[in-house]
């Protein structure tokens, strides 16, 4: 990032190669739309370029990048005027050929449960579980303290659990 701050565009390509896949998956979990997610990834990298001077080297780059990603997501919602409800259909497209059937069903069910979770909880789980960010980084992104992040992540897992077990019950009955 230091190189990008100093005007080296090759540095941005390095950041892109390193982070575009996780960013894409972050957006995909948040909005469930592949095309929109790809556009937003692109948007994030050009915001990085635009706001490179505001990056503080003593901060985590990943946390800063996700903060930009959140803003890009919020802006995309206001552009579309209303938040698009996540279609559960969109969450059942992953290729899971090599997983056993039970695991496959669990994952499919969990994706449905994730899609029903409110956005702020879903986002917390994506950042903490998929992106493996530390509590300090998430606190930096959300603008709250670490204690609050711990409580919110726990609540998000519990809320997911409630939906998941409800869906599992529906399926069993």
């Amino acid at each position: 990032m230091q190189a990008v701050r100093e005007g080296d565009l090759g540095g941005l390509a390095v950041l892109f190669e390193r982070h575009h896949r996780s960013l894409f998956n972050y957006f995909l979990h948040v909005n469930g739309n592949r095309d929109l997610s790809e556009d937003l990834v692109q948007d994030v990298f050009f915001r990085i370029l635009k706001y490179k001077k505001t990056f503080q080297p003593d901060r985590s780059f990943t946390a800063w990048m996700y903060q930009i990603a959140r803003n890009a997501h919020v802006d995309s919602i206001s552009k579309r005027k209303h938040e698009v409800e996540l279609g559960e259909r969109e969450f059942a497209s992953t290729n899971m050929m090599d997983e056993n059937l039970k695991r496959k069903q669990e994952v499919a069910l969990l994706k449905r449960a994730m899609a029903r979770l409110p956005l702020e909880k879903r986002e917390l789980l994506v950042l903490s579980r998929y992106q493996n960010l530390k509590y300090e980084e998430i606190a930096g992104i959300l603008g709250c303290d670490i204690g609050a992040v711990k409580v919110r992540v726990y609540r998000a897992v519990r809320a997911l659990g409630q939906i998941y077990f409800e869906l599992a019950g529906e399926r069993a009955s």
Binding site: H20, F24, T94, K111, G161
Partner: protein, 255 residues
Amino acid sequence: MNCEHARTQFVDYWRGALEDSGEFRSHLATCERCRAEAEELRDLWGTLGAIPEEDPSLAMRTRFYDSLREWRRQESHRRQPLWWMRHPAFQAAAAVLILAAGIGTGFALRGRDTSEVSQLRGEVANMRQMVALSLMQQQSATDRLRGVNFAYHAEQSDPQVLSALLTAMNHDPSVNVRLAAVDALRNFNDSPVGRRGVVQALTKQDSPLVQIAILDQIVELHEKSAISNIQFLLSSQTLNPDVRQRAQWALKQLQ
């Protein structure tokens, strides 16, 4: 520790990141409700991590590099103009001059490939070189490997890329990066510096895989100047048997 506090520790517990787990564990041992919830949600947390990541389309990468190129073009435009260059009189005069020069050059270079396409091709090649060089300077071996791959697809034989590839082949700590660099140097077969670099690297390498890759390339190039280097390699008592066999074969091919 009360239940509320214990529950905020669940995620750290599942991640194996709980610093002082004694108090937490003793709470779980005595509180059945927390224990049951921790168990139940732990499986869910595990499954959550098993959801595979999806790949974006290849078009996304193309779009990104197209936009980056466009950004760079606009940046260079923004930096160039001085105030007098924006003046309409200057611009009109410049337009006439450029038109005249264009017509003149057009006549002079008739038959040559001066189309916009070749200019764009040049820009793409420049971008690839820039990305390759930046990636090859990174700490992570994966990034350096990506850099070498970018260099492999570079269309022009840029001396900076050549030098970066030779450095990667000779000094990179990762065998994979060194191997990829040997492969990418095929693009520079027409360059005497590139060919000499590959020949000289033969005796400097300690990895049998890289040595074999270099020997294959030498044979492919039919580089007779490498004979003495191969003989020197064979004189080593501690040479890997597979490399020895390959070197003897290479020597036969060249003689």
